[in-house]
Amino acid sequence: MSLADISANLLYIAFIAYLIASFVFGGAVKGNKEGSFASEKRWGNVAFTITIIGFIANLGYFFTRWAAAGHPPLSNMFEFTTAFGMTLVGGFIILYSLYRTPVLGMFVLPIALLIIAYASMFPRELSPLIPALQTNWLAIHVSTVVIAEGILAISAGAGLIYLLKVVDQTKKSKQRFWLESLMYSLVLVLGFVIISSFFTLTNYEADFTYVDQDGRDSSITYEMPPIFGMNEYVALTEEAMTPLVSTPAVVHAGKLTTVTWSVLIGTILYWLIRLVSRRRISQIFQPMLKNVNLQLMDEINYRAIIIGFPLFTLGGLIFAMIWAQIAWSRFWGWDPKEVWALITFLFYAAYLHLRLGKGWQGEKSAWLAVIGFAIIMFNLIVVNLIIAGLHSYA
């Protein structure tokens, strides 16, 4: 077995360990019906041990892949997103050892699983570094950012738990709507993972040529049946389905097709869950959160941000600027990724001022933490895949 294979297997092990640990954490929380914290503690510790084993395998994946590729595995969409899943678990481990809260694991681990699964939908082979990435700053800048984002995501996890507990599900309200939208968007990611695994396993491929927005001839391979066709497309694969709609050059129909499939499957899945359980997803979790200490969740939310914010500033702005000065001759160029790092910084700065200066704690803080996570995910997914820029390596 080559080093690269060992690395891939270690990632599977980590994935499965996280999966098991999610259920055990869930059991620990759920088994605690009469408020018997003894069983919560015992099962919590079992789940935590499984998480640690998974995390060690995950680190094993990271360093064996590093050895196999000869450079830190942080250079494309698969590698970065997988690392994000890993640091999310790392952040959880830190905060769990401080506060011993199984409920956090019950929410954070499934999110980490979703992120790792999402990452695996991108090309996974070892890829060589383009000249701009051939420097130690790759390891320094990207690892700091990914650790910071993992920790910031924990704050959103605590915020989410807080909201699931306090938002009144019996009355129609803005809060109830947005919280459910949040759950819905998580299901959409699951929809993407399902549909993209399905078409990958069935080896679906359809080739087209098209004319891009600058008038050049290009070609594209669809990995899902084309709902939308590229500008002036010509099908090269005969048995492929004919696109239902043709789009103008400025719209990337291939990406739009992927998004549409994911939304379609995700929405079906969402309504299935609702029909079977006969409630909103946020309602399903509410009974499990009876024993959650809200003050503690608020504390974790804040604590994660005061660790994550300075780290993010260091990695996402300061190290980023130093490297940009070396590689691109200017420390700042208003590239979309740079701008969204600045937006993330400004957002968390606003959070801290509102919390420390205006007394925004509890529910308000929880909403802000969740929005912060949304900004991070936007920067990871939308800015990389849709808004083209210097950072679009995937």
């Binding site: 070892l126 000249p131 700053w137 600027m321 420390f331 208003w334 701008v339 200066g357």
Partner: protein, 550 residues
């Protein structure tokens, strides 16, 4: 406004909430509250005190947290809008009209509106810069408004505080102690690294005061950073030029007087996917090819002192260096970056002069496409004169050939050929794969034989003397953030009353858990009376009342 006189006799500046000397509450609101507001030590902040003149109003506007956060949010939203479509520097069009057309052509109506609103150049727009300026003003004013009184108050702290100050602290204790409680508490607090000062029957123990300056330190860092960014607009601080240099050429470096650069060669390498790189085989196959290296091998020269600018021979070699991405050549505050390239630019073209009828050809001669000679003399006495040279021919204008750029992309030559057979000369216009004979059929023609090409490197010349200032700003910001976030300011006041009983109060700006842990240790060692967390008591009380109402 008048000074505020406290019962203890101390004169406080107008607007003070808690007497600077004894800590008594001076305002009615504060007197009626269960706990004192310790945020800024009850000092008089200018923004909370004056609101008459226009200066007061401006000051109050910028010192408000609400306004500061609003500016941050507006900046955040504006920045996001600027990423919806690419900024003008990232679109493949130059010139104002071409850029406008590009947005309209590629993005349709949305693009037109985006361009019309100026969002294509959002980050250097007037209003965006004003917003950043407002943020800077807010940083300065909001910091001064809080820092000055806070500093004054913490510097002049008294050990003995009034009872009403002590019992309105969140942590408070009152009752019997042991005989040696006072001395024991003092020694224990010192052991816990508190700075202890005593006055008569009281003591003040304090730790981590510097953490109170954290927010102001990080704001100073940001202001220094923004100042550095502003400095770049000053002449001499900032150079940003492009230098296109061909293999074999020596050029003076723009905006770097006295320095010359020679390009020896440019190379573009791609990954082969073989041997060492076999592990990348799949990825290379998927995307086609991946670039491994862009490199310009250069020699840097400096003209000798005293020599005239441009005199070619008086140059001293400073260094030879391979410029690569991530490895700029640095000298004298400048840096040269590998940024762009053009492969296989035409360097020269070789022709023969041929008699069309006999197909008899002269020997070859070569025209340099950058600095072509005007006159070419051949062995048999024939001559070729270059009447006109059009390096990037793109058609005729009023019957005259025209060149689009000075680069030899599509060279056109207007030549007069004189041979012993045609002494009056024949005129011909030659472009690649085509010969035009404007004055009728010629007997002779120039036949293209071969061409030489070479690569061109696009280098960026950069000098940025603001970098150390920006670095300093960033460093100070990080120090300030750590200082304010990871440390806290803890204080205890202890007094032994005449009857031997004790009163004790504690305060911290954050992390009450840590403060209580310290106090537990001191209390048990020195047998001080048990304390209560009055905030928690109040919350419990409120909750109970709330439940009863339900």
């Amino acid at each position: 406004m008048e000074k505020m006189q406290c019962q203890c006799g101390h004169e406080n500046p107008p607007g003070t909430i808690l007497c600077e000397s004894c800590g008594r509450s001076l305002t009615e609101k504060e007197q009626n509250s269960k706990l004192v507001d310790m945020r800024y030590e009850g000092t008089a902040r200018r923004s909370q005190t004056y609101n008459k003149s226009i200066i007061d109003k401006i000051w109050n506007f910028f010192s408000s947290v609400k306004v500061g956060v609003s500016i941050i949010v507006v900046l955040l939203v504006a920045s996001a809008i600027g990423t919806i479509l690419p900024q003008h520097m990232y679109v493949p069009a130059t010139g104002e009209a071409a850029i406008r057309d590009y947005y309209a052509d590629v993005y349709g109506v949305v693009g037109q509106i985006y361009h019309f609103l100026g969002f294509h150049d959002l980050y250097s727009s007037f209003w965006f810069i004003i917003l950043v300026g407002m943020l800077a003003i807010s940083l300065i004013i909001a910091s001064l408004d809080r820092f000055v009184p806070l500093h004054r108050s913490l510097k002049n702290q008294r050990v003995l505080r009034h009872y009403s100050f002590m019992n309105k602290q969140r942590i408070f204790a009152e009752g019997e102690g042991a005989e040696d409680s006072f001395q024991k508490a003092e020694s224990k607090l010192k052991e816990l690294k508190y700075k202890v000062s005593t006055d008569k029957n009281g003591l003040l123990a304090e730790k981590g005061r510097f953490s109170r300056w954290g927010p102001y330190v990080n704001h100073i860092g940001l202001i220094i950073f923004l100042f550095g960014v502003m400095l770049r607009m000053m002449p001499g601080f900032y150079v940003d030029e492009t230098l296109w240099i061909r293999e074999g050429e020596t050029r003076s470096i723009p905006d770097a007087p006295g320095y010359y650069l020679e390009s020896e060669s440019f190379a573009l390498e791609t990954y082969t996917g073989e041997e060492e790189e076999a592990r990348f085989g799949d990825a290379i196959e998927r995307v086609g090819s991946v670039v491994k290296n862009y490199q310009t091998d250069v020699v840097l020269y400096q003209s000798q002192e005293g020599s005239l600018p441009g005199s070619a021979d008086e140059k001293e070699v400073l260094t030879e260096y391979p410029i690569r991405v991530n490895q700029p050549l640095k000298f004298d505050g400048y840096a040269l970056y590998q940024m762009d390239y053009k492969l296989n630019e035409l360097k020269s073209m070789t022709f023969v002069l041929t008699n069309k009828a006999s197909q008899e050809a002269s020997e070859e001669f070569t025209i340099d496409l950058i600095n072509p000679a005007d006159f070419y003399e051949l062995e048999d006495g024939s001559t070729v004169e270059l009447l006109g040279y059009y390096p990037d021919f793109d058609g005729f204008e009023n019957g005259e050939p025209r060149t689009a750029t000075p680069l030899p992309n599509n060279p056109g030559f207007l030549v007069e050929m004189v041979t012993p057979e045609t002494p009056e000369g024949e005129t011909s216009f030659i472009i690649i794969q085509e010969t035009i004979e404007p004055f009728g059929e010629n007997q002779y023609e120039l036949k293209f034989q071969s061409a030489e090409t070479r690569h061109v490197s696009g280098l960026t010349v950069r000098k940025d003397r603001t970098l150390p200032i920006l670095g300093l700003g960033g460093l100070i910001f990080m120090i300030g953030v750590a200082q304010g976030m990871y440390f806290n300011h803890r204080r205890f006041w202890i007094q032994q009353k005449a009857d031997g009983t004790f009163i004790l109060a504690g305060h911290t700006n954050k992390n009450w858990y840590g403060l209580k842990k310290d106090l537990d240790e001191v209390s048990s060692f020195a047998s001080l009376p048990a304390y209560t967390d009055q905030q928690e008591e109040i919350e419990k009380q409120e909750k109970k009342e709330g439940d009863e109402v339900k």
